[in-house]
């Protein structure tokens, strides 16, 4: 695994590697399009987990190079993928039955914005980039746990972690934890709580890049 990991850059690789560490053995996990899908590359080869992709597959395997690709076998982001032993194919009705009925333990998604109460916006920037919700509405609302992997700020340097979402929401109060290039931050009843900092980053730097009040966990802050 990991042919494309090298192209992620150190900061992004660190954050997806950190997110992979929290995946619970035995769980059913959906990894969203883009950066979230890279989390799989940092799971040990013998790690017991069932990866789901909403276009109709459980037992998703690693991405495959084009010369080995099966034209009928993609993930929800359109990447050519393989399967692991025991994989199953099904239609979109069955795929979302799995999501909505409580069988999905963890959804890892990307974000345009995350609010201090756990609201998520990731499907529409009105008049600019509106890809549509895809499966994200149901993944955000119905997975037992929702985590976000994202850069801490957008490409213009604006914070993505805010007091409130300014963009149309994907889900309300759904996010449990956010992994960024700067920090690991939990969403708590008291708002954002800084749990860990990325190597070389200070609490003040993280606070300055965050658009909402940031509590800091007691005790020495782990570094990832």
């Amino acid at each position: 695994m990991g042919s494309s990991a090298a192209s992620l850059g150190n900061a992004r690789e660190r954050l997806v590697r950190r997110a992979a560490r929290d995946i619970v053995p035995g769980s059913v996990v959906n990894l969203g399009i883009g950066l979230p899908s890279k989390v799989a590359e940092f799971l040990p080869a013998d790690f017991p987990v069932c990866l789901h992709t909403e276009n109709g597959l459980t037992g998703l395997g690693p991405a495959v190079p084009l010369e080995e690709a099966d034209r009928n076998l993609i993930d929800a982001g359109g990447a050519y993928v393989g399967t692991v032993a025991g994989a199953a194919f099904f239609d979109s009705v069955t795929s979302f039955s799995l999501v909505r009925s409580g069988r999905l333990d963890l959804s890892i998604l990307g974000a345009f914005e995350v609010a201090a109460n756990g609201d998520l916006a990731n499907w529409k920037i009105p008049g600019k980039f509106s890809p549509g919700p895809g499966g994200a509405i149901e993944l955000a609302q119905k997975a037992k746990k929702v985590c976000i992997v994202t850069t801490h700020t957008d490409r213009h340097g604006n914070p993505k972690l805010l007091r409130q979402c300014t963009l149309p929401r994907t889900g309300t109060a759904c996010v449990a934890r956010v992994y960024t290039d700067l920090a690991v931050i939990d969403v708590t009843p008291a708002g954002f709580l800084l749990r860990e900092r990325a190597e070389g980053r200070t609490v003040e730097e993280i606070r300055a890049a965050t658009g909402a009040p940031l509590q800091v966990a007691k005790g020495p802050l782990p570094v990832f």
Binding site: I33, T53, E54, N55, G56, L57, L66, A69, D70, R71, N72, L73, I74, A76, G78, Y80, F89, F90, D91, S92, V93, S95, F96, S97, V99, R100, W123, K124, G127, K128, F129, S130, P131, G132, P133, G134, G135, I137, E138, Q141, K142, P168, R169, T170, G171, T172
Partner: protein, 230 residues
Amino acid sequence: MPLPDKLEGLESAVARIPDGAVLLVGGFGVPGTPFTLLRELERQGQQQLTLIRNDANEPGTGIDRLLRSGQVRRLVTSHIGLNAHAIERMNEGSLDVEFCAQGILAERIRAGGAGIPAILTDVGLGTELAAGKTIVEVEGRPLVLEMALRADVALVHAATADPFGNLTYAATARNFNPPMAMAADRVVAETESLVALGDLSAENVETPGSFVDAVVPLSALTEDYGIVCR
């Protein structure tokens, strides 16, 4: 008592689609997209179509060709992020797009195919997707009323079919094809492989032929169906 033969030529199968038709179009990205039926629809030029389809394909392929030829008035979909042209058309107002949560899109189609007029769900409550929809309170819970989707014609892509229209699908080329193959007044299935009646194991049939009206065998797979180098 042989089962009826529903084999039909490409041109005549597509010619039954009138202007203004509502169409279900199978596929999720490339896999399961009925590219040959769509190319013929482009050639015949039916106008004012409403398409119900998970995504907008990628620029220059699949339903994007119908968007470019000006044949599509309205698109009901879940995600068009891989098609900048579709987003542009939506933003400039020349294409009416209704977004639907992906699984609810599937479930609305399933309901249409199952003879159920509408479904109730909490999916999308508190988001823009529920705006303007009827909210029904059931046992104290607010739920969104989502209307079933049924079409005049469904265009689906099968891996294997027999002349009666029993269908099987390949890998992730299933996606929306099985529910769509149940949810239209007329169901047209293009198939990569045609086998004789009895050659498909009855235990392996995924769409029973009684839902299907026309079987169009593909003589060759065009490059539309191939690996996409992005």
